[in-house]
Subunit: 148 residues, 2 copies
């Protein structure tokens, strides 16, 4: 650590391109009306994958839970503090201690169950992401104790 | 689903810019020698944040576990199937059913404990990400049952 702030400074603002690998199709269309978390009344949704990544999803099966990473493209990226859950009675909190969608990199992290597979589409749930949200990655759940 | 492949097609290749918010400082420097998962002998590491996001991390504390999202900038992005754990004896598997760093969007997902805080740096562990890996997001762990 000591004497290395220059390292951090030199890395600052490195930028990378994240590409949509698919899209959420959901009855949720309104961000304001969407549940805050998957287990707060969220519906099931389809993940419609780009045919170009079909090889990548070929070993997914109905039954297990998976981790879905989305890009919350309607979020604000210039926000570093929020009132948790959008409630002004909650004290302003640094976004990295919250699950606010508004944050420098609006990545959504969702643990969902795979309910059905049709071609290159997966039905999953419950999912709080709204219709049209880009999907950027899928990961298997490891053990409960260490799943991020 | 039916009749909507055009939607998926039109979304294909949407691209977004993910920005580094900090950097991993770790004794691990060699990807090939790095543990496959955090709990497989990984060391502790420092997350050195960009001073520009200091407001965002102000409510993180030593003690709890957090979820760290990294951008595995040395991974290959043109890979859709892998032999899990790099072992040719394991059958070729679609990357989205694995935790391979090589994948279309090389996002790393790490559940770690916060061990110490110094200024805008966090000591965390165990972490399998190698030295210099960009950090792109931090999220709190919710309940064990639903943490993605």
């Amino acid at each position: 650590m000591a004497g290395r702030p220059d390292v951090a400074a030199s890395m600052t603002n490195s930028r990378y391109e994240v590409r949509s690998i698919g899209t959420v199709e959901s009855p949720l269309v309104d961000r304001e009306a969407a549940p805050r978390q998957g287990d707060e009344g969220s519906p099931d949704a389809w993940l419609v994958f780009d045919p170009g990544v079909s090889e990548g999803i070929r070993d997914l099966q109905a039954g297990p839970e998976i981790i879905v990473l989305t890009w919350l493209d309607r979020a604000r990226r210039d926000v570093l503090t929020v009132h948790p859950r959008g409630d002004a009675r909650n004290p302003l909190t640094g976004v990295f201690a919250t699950r606010s969608p508004d944050r420098p990199n609006p990545l959504g992290l969702h643990r969902v169950k795979v309910l059905e597979i049709k071609g290159t589409s997966l039905k999953v749930g419950p999912l709080e992401a709204i219709d049209g949200t880009p999907v950027v990655d899928i990961k298997p759940v490891l053990e409960a104790s260490k799943d991020a």
